[in-house]
């Protein structure tokens, strides 16, 4: 008896090879030119011509590449979860205001530190403080959107509610900004541009740890996610505990989006655009295939965006957020203009 579910083995092998190539390209690009051979030498701890090269690669470029991989996959998986849960092709962590919620958490910490008293100020400038504030912010906004989604069945209304929550949090941030000092404001502004660099190995472990927790939750809901493709009533009739699935999605999306936003700033469009690109490439709705595919594609695209933002061989670096928007916005427009149906 034939099992006609396609295995997509070759496509996956191709994707992984692309990922490895892009990682190497990404690490070899930057304001300082370093020959490829020296890059490999520094990885295997061999004799590198200049000690500074080794330091640049191991302490700056490699951490940045790892951050890009985590940020890209994490945001893309969050986007996929949102699109399946809300049955809406335009859902994503940024559109639904979840990234804004995370930003609000960080803004309260940075900008509102003076209101909140000295006790919090101590934690305010550590990245762990940012992460926890961002995760709580993301969790609160996403819970609010989900509660609204139970009442409002119309998927378009849910999208508008998400956008409204986004503007609400933006407004609160503006008010906070109005009352803060120039110093705090500058700090917040730089954070909000987004940056994949500047993470110490310690911070990367913290980010990876949260990422892995978020991902491991998702692995256990692959099966219910597939039945949710038929709608909640069918899912329930097939024995799916829809409420529990919804809660797991809530937790893992908040963890992923929250931690990523805290460490790298609010990054737009990746969560929305990558799942669509992946679905175009794989032409399937099966989450068993989509989840790993989206994770790898997200990593690849984030690395490409980062390589572009480095402006190779120049000393300037563009804000990563600008690059992802430049890349993501046209894709969304193209998706909507195209005649073919958009699936989630």
């Amino acid at each position: 008896m034939l099992n006609p579910i396609k295995s997509y083995k070759n496509t996956f092998i191709l994707l992984v090879i692309t990922l490895i190539l892009i990682v190497i390209i990404n690490i070899s690009l930057g304001s300082v030119y370093i020959p490829i051979k020296q890059i490999f030498l520094s990885f295997i701890d061999g004799q590198v011509e200049k000690e500074s090269w080794k330091s640049i690669i191991l302490n700056y470029r490699l951490p940045k590449a790892i951050t890009a991989i985590i940020v890209g996959s994490g945001l893309s998986i969050s986007g996929l979860l949102m699109q399946t849960l809300f049955r809406n092709p335009l859902a994503g962590p940024f559109v639904l205001g979840i990234s804004s919620g995370a930003s609000l958490g960080v803004a309260i910490l940075i900008l509102g530190a003076s209101f909140l008293g000295a006790n919090i100020t101590v934690y305010a400038f550590t990245n762990w403080g940012h992460a926890i504030a961002a995760i709580i912010g993301a969790f609160l906004v996403l819970s609010a959107v989900m509660l609204a989604a139970i009442k409002v069945r119309n998927t378009m209304s849910i999208l508008i509610i998400g956008l409204m929550f986004g503007s609400l949090t933006a407004a609160v941030i503006s008010v906070l900004a109005y009352f803060s000092s120039a110093n705090q404001l500058q700090q917040y502004l730089f954070w909000s541009f987004g940056s994949l660099g500047n993470l110490s190995w310690n911070e990367i472990s913290a980010l990876s740890f949260t990422f892995l927790i978020g991902i491991s939750f998702v692995i256990f809901i692959i099966k219910p996610l597939n039945s949710l493709l038929l709608g909640e009533n069918y899912a329930k009739s097939m024995g799916v505990n829809v409420k529990r699935t919804r809660n797991i999605i809530l937790i893992s999306t908040s963890l992923l989006t929250g931690a990523i936003t805290a460490f790298s700033g609010p990054i737009a469009f990746i969560g929305l655009a990558v799942p669509h690109l992946t679905k175009l490439l794989f032409n399937t709705s099966n989450h068993k295939i989509l989840l790993p595919a989206v994770a790898i594609s997200g990593a690849i695209i984030m690395l490409i965006c980062d390589s572009i933002s480095q402006l190779p061989n120049s000393e300037y670096t563009l804000p990563i957020n600008a690059i992802t928007s430049l890349f993501g916005a046209p894709i969304i427009i193209w998706l909507l203009v195209r005649k073919r149906k958009v699936f989630y």
Binding site: R87, L229, K279, V342
Partner: protein
């Protein structure tokens, strides 16, 4: 799977409707159901009389206002979703959300109550899926995408999905609403076959009264005043079917077994 032919569904003094914060809205009350396995049941009634509400109550989508429902001697309220999914499978009237599942993937989803945490299909699962395609004559469609199917094909595939769930009861809410006469008859014959040859209990809400009177083993009739259930022939002879449409425009002709327009 051979089932005892007794009381697959039993409900006494059932009251159905909606509860909101402000009020309790009763749609129908005093419903008594006592159904044996292996029957094709057609639920008939005017638009808005509460057919869907009754089906939603019987399938655990909404709670009953009063009275208990027993499915295969299990109290419906105490059955969890997992247990329920092995008793009753559904074909809903709502449109499927857009997705790019293949027909095989859609039908295979019916095995979810039985598969492991990742949804791995064993040889036994594949055999049951294959069997469902066989029974519904949809094997040629397995590699198509669901959005490519016609309404008639989709309906048969949805029945196949319900079959893979391997439940003694299948509930269908207006399965032929968008179908032409050819596909309507095809669907009803399929359902009749499932009840007769495979001892399934099939409950269908429908407006196809003529077909229902010819094929159904039992009828559930919903009128504004009462709920009547019984063998099709009995309900025809004791004038219960006549009560379905309280109108001077049409009346029921017992010899033709169909409603005819009154000559005025």
């Amino acid at each position: 799977m051979k089932l005892s032919t007794k009381h697959i569904i039993k409900a006494t003094n059932l009251s159905i409707g909606y509860t909101s914060k402000k009020e309790v809205k009763t749609i129908a009350s005093n419903l008594n159901i006592d159904l044996n396995a292996g029957n094709l049941v057609c639920l008939l009634g005017k638009n808005g009389i509460g057919k869907s509400t009754l089906l939603r109550t019987l399938t655990k989508v909404q709670p009953s206002l009063e009275g208990e429902i027993f499915i295969n001697s299990n109290n419906l309220e105490k059955l969890n979703y997992k247990g329920f999914s092995k008793m009753v499978s559904l074909v809903l009237t709502e449109r499927l959300p857009d997705n790019s599942l293949t027909v095989f993937e859609l039908v295979a989803l019916g095995r979810q109550p039985y598969t492991n945490w990742i949804g791995y299909l064993t040889t036994e699962d594949l055999q049951i899926i294959d069997d469902a395609f066989e029974k519904t004559a949809t094997k040629h469609l397995i590699n198509s995408k669901c959005y490519e199917l016609s309404d008639g094909q989709l309906q048969k595939v949805l029945v196949a999905r319900a079959l893979t769930q391997n439940t003694p009861i299948i509930v269908l809410d207006e399965p032929t609403a968008h179908l032409d006469i050819h596909h309507t008859i095809e669907t009803f014959t399929l359902l009749k076959k499932l009840a007769k040859n495979f001892n399934k209990t099939v409950i269908v809400s429908t407006h196809e009264i003529n077909l229902a009177l010819q094929l159904a083993d039992e009828l559930w009739l919903m009128t504004p005043t009462q709920f009547v259930s019984g063998k099709t022939d009995t309900l025809i002879s004791n004038n219960s079917v006549q009560q379905l449409f309280d109108s001077n425009l049409i009346s029921f002709n017992k010899t033709l077994k169909q409603f005819t327009i009154n000559n005025s």
